[in-house]
């Protein structure tokens, strides 16, 4: 591969030779080149061979140009100079040959002047060649620079590719910017709720802002008749839903308006994945009926492979929503529908917002008792919804990799400055010989750009590996089926970063070098005191900057680590170990009433209790960390919320009597449900400690009553508090705590449940036994969402962990680079001040004094940098505070710790050159000059 690319390049160079010359020599040259490359690979390794091949190709290009030029009368001397002086003065480089005698037919024309463009091209080629040769002269040095830059550029590219995929890439729908969602907004409790069926009809029929308004509701379907019964994540959608997203079926069709009506709704559209997995990708399934929740549904369409719903990314089939008249009449509070709308052509988001706010006011005027006074409707673009959660974390990461890149630039600039100091004499000679300073700057910038582009290439490779690693950390559904990719825009970003980086780290050394004072430098044998000093000041400034940036990175990483530890330290309120979770849903067509549903759950729980390895089992309507939640408002007897205060509202769970014990939630007062609490007995409720404290702060809540109905109504059902249990985390360890209240599944019965199973050993070990136990009760009943509670909790902190790990990696890179930076500067300082050290030692200073002197220098640089870093980090705290849990962004412990780490690393890096200084032999040092 490499050989072929190189041969191609060489061929391109050969093509530039004049035809008469090429006719004579091209083949033989090619042969020599091939032989030379092969031997170089054999004897000097691939890297040096590639280098040789590139140099040789450059030689052919130079030859071609010279052959096209008119022969000059002094060509013989030019050749002589080229061959002998070149090494002493790199500026003098001409082709080491000439053509003598009469021009050939078709050969170079006498007196032809090169065009302006040609001269520019020549200048560029010259600069490139010169830069390549200088880089090649010290491959280790170039390698260090390229590796440093690759770290910086690679980290940036990887993070930018995530940002591009998640934040910048348009959603995978037709004209995605026009897609919005509408929510019921309750400002007093800062809640954006879903919409009701009646609301959906109003927002669709009484507005002009939207071309499509559609709603959806989550669904689960037990698919039977195709192998083992399986539970499929599904969505019920209104007829216009696919059209609103701009999606079309790949095979067949989507729903018709007349199918979105109760009774006509037994049609189903399959996802491509389900079609492939369950039906073998057979197009003949179109028109066939399948059994979903024990009802027949006709397959009418199959979606394309890349289609994902926006709010239902995991859905694998869709059926019509078919809202009933009862549902339409249920009123504003029946908020169970997620709305997706498409703005009509030429309607702006602002216009839609204005219209919806006005509609909200109209609705409130029409039926004032139905709505809280400050209730309103909000319109949010799906773009905002998609990026809302991840945006701040990603922007912080982008900032962090930006810092890494800056540190890398400072480090590379330092390396180049150090070398510039060593090249003063060469530069002075060139200036003395008439080289223009601008010319020198340009050449040095070309060199730094080549280095940064090489760093960019290597960085892209690193980023590619990084993105592969990151992909596994992201839930693919979060990306709506799109993958993280290093595609065009990302590579363009990398290219721009690489070039800007090259200029950024190249400009200071280039200007520094070009300011070389010719006379002093030549006089002082290559060590000009004045320029040396200013170069050194610049290098110290870079070290200070590196330490400042590194401290900011470390502080950020430290804060995220502490925050993560705090989150992990949160007590979920139950014992998560050896707890298995799964879900089960009964088809309502088969389990038509509460009696048979309760009977199923009773038998299932009894059967499971006998399974070996199971210690306890309970059910709940929604499981903590299970990914779903149910909230509801209620009224407390004798309690009236103050004007403008939201009424009581919180998480509600419908559970089996064994739930609290299985979960290990402590009972604080009274009792939990028993088998005796049933349809015929007093309605009872169990509350959590938070609810108890909030509404009965000074009383015993046992015996108090709440209702979920209108408390004024004579038909209101009042639930008596029989027990108080501990609070449990629900959506996440770091989520805000809501009050929680529980009902027994014998008094409120749902056709679905999540199971919590406490096992004696490894939780996943009993899954097969659980499945067969449940199927011994009903052979058509599948289980779904099987997971250990520990893995569910772990997943809930996944994003925090990822951010913490990435910041930690970036901070470590920053620390490493800053350490090498200060080491380089101090080592050079020790080398340059060897004479001074020698004098001091000759004058009686002991090794301790020398050590102190050098260490003090290093400590000063590190100290200033750390000081600036602390100040800068404190200024940036606002940015990270929202991402931290239970940690102030100015946390003094974290700041002290990272300052100590950075100071220790800085001193360690200084100690090596300092110790070297103490071992200097004064006599040698003095003679060295």
């Amino acid at each position: 591969m490499t050989a072929r690319v190189l041969a191609w390049l060489y061929g391109a160079a050969l093509a530039r030779l004049p035809a008469w010359f090429a006719a004579h020599h091209a083949e033989a040259m090619e042969e020599s080149f091939t032989a030379g490359y092969a031997e170089a690979v054999r004897e000097r390794g691939l890297l040096r061979a590639v280098w040789w091949a590139l140099l040789d190709t450059g030689d052919v290009v130079r030859t071609a140009r010279a052959l096209r030029r008119a022969p000059s009368s002094s060509s013989e001397s030019v050749e002589a100079r080229g061959a002998s002086v070149e090494d002493a003065s790199p500026d003098v480089e001409r082709g080491a040959f000439h053509i003598r005698g009469a021009p050939h037919a078709g050969g170079p024309a006498i007196g032809a002047r090169s065009s302006y463009r040609e001269r520019i091209m020549n200048a560029i080629a010259h600069d490139l060649r010169y830069a390549l040769r200088r880089i090649g002269r010290n491959p280790g040095f170039a390698g260090l620079i390229i590796a440093t830059l690759a770290l910086g550029i690679g980290a940036n590219t990887a993070i930018f590719s995530v940002i591009h995929s998640v934040l910048l890439r348009p959603l995978p729908y037709a004209e995605p910017d026009a897609l919005v969602t509408v929510n019921h907004r309750y400002p007093s409790i800062d809640l954006d709720a879903s919409v009701s069926a009646g609301g959906f009809r109003d927002y669709r029929d009484r507005t002009r802002s939207f071309s499509h308004v559609a709603v959806q509701s989550g669904w689960g379907a037990n698919l039977t008749g195709y192998g083992d019964p399986v539970r499929i994540t599904a969505t019920r959608v209104s007829a216009d839903w696919f059209a609103a997203l701009g999606a079309q079926a790949m095979v067949g069709r989507t729903f018709r308006a007349e199918e979105d009506v109760p009774g006509n709704h037994h049609v189903v559209v399959l996802s491509h994945g389900l079609w492939q997995r369950q039906f073998g990708g057979d197009p003949a399934v179109l028109g066939q009926a399948i059994s979903l929740n024990a009802e027949p549904f006709e397959i009418v369409g199959i979606m394309p492979p890349d289609f994902r719903g926006f709010f239902d990314r995991r859905s694998e089939l869709w059926v019509p929503l078919a809202l009933t008249e009862t549902q339409f009449a249920a009123g504003r509070t029946s908020e169970f529908l997620t709305l997706t709308a498409r703005l009509a052509p030429a309607v702006t988001l602002e216009q839609a917002r204005t219209e919806m706010a006005a509609l909200a006011e109209t609705l409130k005027q029409e039926t004032p008792d139905q709505y809280p006074s400050n209730w309103t409707l909000t319109v949010t673009t799906l773009n905002e919804v998609a990026t809302g959660d991840l945006r701040p974390a990603l922007l912080i990461l982008l900032g962090a990799v930006g810092f890494v890149l800056l540190i890398a630039c400072a480090n590379v600039a330092n390396l180049l400055l150090a070398r510039a100091a060593g090249r003063m004499k060469e530069v002075a000679v060139r200036i003395a010989m008439g080289a223009k300073r601008w010319h020198l700057v340009r050449q040095l910038l070309v060199e730094s750009t080549i280095l940064s582009v090489a760093g960019g290439l290597l960085g892209t490779a690193l980023a590619w590996a990084g993105v592969r690693a990151l992909t596994t950390s992201f839930d693919p559904e979060d990306l709506l089926g799109r993958s993280l990719a290093l595609d065009g825009p990302v590579l363009l970003f990398t290219g721009i970063v690489a070039v800007l980086t090259g200029v950024a780290f190249g400009i200071a050394p280039a200007l520094q070098t070009s300011r070389t004072n010719v006379r002093d430098t030549l006089h002082e044998g290559g060590r000009s005191a004045s320029t040396d000093r200013s170069g050194h000041v610049l290098r110290r400034a870079f070290v200070v900057a590196e330490f400042g940036l590194a401290l900011t990175l470390l502080a950020g990483a430290g804060l995220f680590m502490k925050s993560f530890a705090r989150v992990q330290g949160v007590d979920p309120g139950f014992r998560a170990e050896r707890l298995l979770a799964m879900s089960i849903a009964l088809p309502t067509a088969k389990y038509t009433n509460d009696t048979v549903r309760v009977a199923f759950f009773d038998r299932m729980l009894a059967t499971l209790a006998d399974v070996p390895g199971i210690q306890a089992v309970g059910t709940t309507s929604v499981l903590p960390f299970g990914g779903s939640w149910a909230t509801g408002s209620f009224s407390v007897e004798g309690y009236m919320p103050a004007e403008g205060e939201p009424g009581p509202w919180g998480d509600l769970r419908i559970v089996s009597p064994g739930f609290a014990e299985t979960m290990g939630i402590p009972l604080l007062r009274g009792r939990f449900f028993t088998e005796a609490d049933g349809p015929g007995t007093t309605p009872v409720v169990v509350i959590d400690e938070v609810l108890a404290r909030r509404y009965w702060p000074d009383e015993d809540p046992i015996g108090k009553r709440i209702t979920r109905s209108n408390p004024q109504s004579p038909d209101a059902v009042w639930w008596e508090v029989i027990g108080v249990i501990g609070h449990t985390a629900h959506e996440g360890l770091d989520a805000e705590a809501r009050v929680q209240y529980y009902f027994s599944y014998r008094q409120i019965t749902l056709p679905f449940a999540a199971l919590a199973i406490r096992t004696a050993g490894e939780p996943l070990g009993v899954v097969a036994a659980v499945r067969s136990a449940i199927q011994s009760v009903d052979p058509e009943q599948p289980i779904a969402d099987v997971a250990t509670m520990e893995s569910l909790i772990d997943r809930s902190v996944g994003q925090r962990r990822l951010a913490m790990i990435l910041l930690g990696i970036f901070a470590a890179i920053g620390l490493l680079l800053a350490a090498t930076g200060i080491y380089g500067v101090m080592a050079q300082m020790v080398a340059q001040r060897a004479q001074e050290v020698g004098v001091r030692m000759a004058m009686g200073a002991d090794r301790g004094d020398v050590l102190r002197m050098v260490m003090a220098q290093g400590a000063r640089l590190a100290g200033i940098g750390v000081g600036i870093g602390v100040a800068g980090s404190l200024a940036l705290t606002r940015v990270v505070q929202s991402q931290l849990f239970d940690v102030r962004a100015t946390d003094p412990v974290t700041f002290l710790a990272v300052t100590a780490i950075l100071a220790a690393v800085g001193l360690l890096a200084t100690a090596i050159p300092a110790l070297r200084a103490t071992r200097l032999d004064p006599v040698e040092a003095l003679r060295g000059e």
Binding site: A13, L17, F21, H24, H25, E27, A28, M29, E30, E31, S32, F33, T34, A35, G36, E39, L55, D56, G58, D59, V60, V61, R62, T63, A64, A66, L67, E76, E79, A80, A83, S84, D87, G95, A96, F97, H98, I99, R100, G101
Partner: protein, 119 residues
């Protein structure tokens, strides 16, 4: 025969090539290596430089393309050999350099002997 003295000095690369070829016929890449060795690494012609130099030396009549082909090798490979005239040019250049060396040694000799030479 052309006036050899008028051709002098010749370039270091030309001289090196002539000296390598004086040992026997050689092909392109071998020439590159031999020139590098002969010059103690000071001359490292690339293929472009080399063939341009060979082209010129062929034109001058110092070297010639060998008619010989070696069937066991790459068909594109070309061998060059030195001509009698090439040998004369190399000899003349070496003689010139020899005189230069002699002159130089005298001039750079220790102070005492230089004075002696003047006197």
């Amino acid at each position: 025969m052309p006036d050899i003295e008028g051709l002098l000095p010749i370039t270091p690369l030309s001289l090196a090539l002539l000296l390598v070829l004086a040992e026997g016929e050689q092909h392109g890449y071998a020439l590159m290596k031999e020139v590098e060795r002969l010059s103690e690494g000071r001359l490292r012609p690339g293929t472009g430089t080399l063939y341009a130099a060979l082209q010129r030396m062929v034109e001058e009549g110092w070297v010639e393309l060998s008619v010989e082909r070696r069937p066991e090798e790459d068909a594109r490979r070309r061998y060059y050999g030195i001509t009698t005239f090439g040998r004369s040019v190399a000899r003349a250049e070496l003689a010139r350099l020899g005189r230069l060396v002699e002159l130089g040694e005298r001039r750079l000799a220790p102070l005492g002997s230089r004075q002696g030479a003047r006197a």
